[in-house]
């Protein structure tokens, strides 16, 4: 009897094990897929659904469909929406542009080994791991017009004090600088990893043929690094479009009293949680998401086209 029982027990376990192994692809990946499905696909569908309704004020208040009203309202809104699109693009574009230039300079400087390279690499890493909210507060003090060190510093060279974050005309550029300060290290580290994995031969051959450093950089290094540069642009670009922490921490609700740093992300956040306009906010988010997808699609095309 017991022998038969044990045999049956083993066979159940065996059967489960066989089943799990045969379907191991889904046994291993399934839980993650379900988690992401529940927390991503359903909320995204919900956002899409809300964007066609007049949901507002309280989450428990009943709401109705209002067709594409939210979308027409947003797309004709030249006061908040379109300026926010412009700010998002100039913030992201400016940040990416300087991060690529400075990132490349730093990567080239750290490329060839030297004494203390490890220490320098660790220092370069610090801005990138620092908590963005704290970084925002730190620069808020440094850029403070009356007591900040930045005005004291430029004063040494005879430059008059600037309003920085407090003036609508300079605040977005100042925050672009903060983003460049924090994220140039990331671009530099990615480019450095790319540089160290470059093949030796083409560079050596160019040197033998008499190409100078400038020519070697533009004709050999940049073309070979193209995929790495595009990967860095993609990674950083997506994060820069969605920047929230330093903007909200330094300028607060609505991107400051003149909405001077209100990007799409800040605008959508404000609509959702400061004004509780869930319907309109959802429509902004859907449009924002489409813009991001469009940019990624263009970059991916660039990556594939060689």
């Amino acid at each position: 009897m017991s022998l038969v029982e044990r045999h049956e027990q083993v066979s159940t376990r065996e059967r489960f094990s066989r089943w799990a192994n045969r379907h191991r692809k889904w046994v291993l990946a399934g839980p993650s897929m379900i988690f992401v499905g529940l927390l991503l696909v359903i909320p995204l569908a919900w956002t899409l659904f809300l964007s066609f309704t007049d949901a507002r004020r309280s989450v428990r208040r009943p709401f109705d469909f209002n067709g594409v009203d939210n979308y027409t309202e947003i797309l004709t809104d030249t006061e908040r929406f379109w300026p926010a699109v412009g700010r998002t693009i100039s913030f992201t574009g400016g940040a990416l542009f300087f991060q690529l230039i400075f990132g490349m300079i730093i990567a080239l400087l750290l490329w060839k080994p030297f004494r203390g390279q490890g220490v320098v690499r660790t220092i370069v890493l610090l801005p990138l791991v620092a908590t963005p909210v704290a970084v925002g507060m730190m620069w808020r003090l440094l850029f403070e017009p009356n007591i900040g060190f930045v005005n004291e510093f430029i004063g040494w060279f005879g430059v008059p004090p600037q309003p920085w974050l407090t003036d609508p005309s300079t605040s977005l550029a100042t925050l672009t600088f903060v983003d460049v300060w924090q994220w140039t290290p990331m671009v530099a580290l990615i480019l450095l990893a790319g540089l160290t994995s470059l093949p030796e031969e083409p560079l050596e051959a160019a040197r033998v043929d008499g190409a100078n450093a400038w020519q070697r950089f533009w004709l050999i290094i940049v073309p070979l690094m193209r995929p790495v540069i595009l990967a860095a642009v993609l990674l950083r670009g997506i994060d820069a479009l969605k920047t929230f922490d330093i903007l909200y921490a330094t300028k607060g609700k609505g991107g400051g009293s003149f909405n001077d740093v209100e990007t799409l992300n800040i605008y959508a956040y404000g609509l959702s949680f400061d004004y509780n306009e869930y319907g309109v906010a959802s429509a902004v988010l859907i449009l924002f998401f489409l813009i991001i997808l469009g940019i990624i699609w263009v970059l991916q095309m660039q990556r594939k086209a060689k």
């Binding site: 799990a20 192994n21 191991r24 692809k25 889904w26 291993l28 990946a29 993650s32 897929m33 988690f35 992401v36 991503l40 909320p43 995204l44 919900w46 956002t47 809300l50 989450v59 428990r60 400087l109 030297f114 320098v120 220092i123 370069v124 890493l125 610090l126 990138l128 791991v129 620092a130 908590t131 963005p132 909210v133 704290a134 970084v135 507060m137 730190m138 620069w139 003090l141 007591i147 060190f149 300060w181 580290l189 990893a193 994995s197 790495v228 990967a231 860095a232 997506i238 969605k242 909200y248 921490a249 959508a268 959702s272 949680f273 869930y278 859907i286 924002f288 998401f289 991001i292 990624i296």
Partner: protein, 288 residues
Amino acid sequence: MTSSAVKSDQTPLRSKPKFKWSNVGRASAITVIILLFIGPIAWMVSASLKFNVQIYDSSQSFIFTPTLANYETVFDPRRGNYLMFIRNSFIVAFVATLLSLVFAVPAAYAMSRFVMRKSATTVLLARIIPGVSLLVPWYFIFSQLQITGGFLPLILSHMFVSMPLILYIMMSFFEQLPEELEESAQVDGLTAIAAFLKISLPLSVPGIATATILSFIFSWNNFMFALVLSGPTTKTLPVAVFDFIGYASIDWGALMAASVVVTTPIMLIALFTQRYIVSGLTAGATKG
């Protein structure tokens, strides 16, 4: 004969360290970069050790008598329980990272071994999507379930950042891991899943370490999710720092002290695990 002899004589001469203007230029450029990155952080730390009077006085920019008064303000129980915020940040980052590892490591393995492109893209969509667009529906759903303010919504939302990150890092790690070891283990009688658990998993410890460190850092630093989803007893450090400016005039010394408190643990981790962080951040980017 003679020319080659001359050449071989010259080579050791050339490899000797020689004074070059380009080296001086490079060294000074590196010094400027170090100052640019370290300077602001040093300023934040020094301001956290000053009374506000000293912060306002430019003659005490560099030379001043340090004080710990600001840290006393930060940890003053009447101001809010800062120790509890530290604990909250730690609980959320730790649990979210742990759960994400349990979910994402096997998934990364399956996705790299079976080339599940569509599934991988779906999960990586989570890296692309703006967090706000998930917060609205989450806030709706969590309010309906009446669990807002607790740890569960916070941890779930942080897992949403951690899981795609871990998946991304581990996929590029497993792709570099040779399949032969698993195959020979299977020949020796192990099932495929057992081969993964007993052979590949122990070999991927460096990759898991990288993923764990980065996931912890990003979760610790996360601000937006906690800003919406945390309650008074589950508030995390970045939100607590933000709350310091909710008053009429800013207490700069205390604000800097609070900022130092939130960044110090992360910077310490970064100092000791630099190598892992770099390999994690550059994972996948250099393959083209």
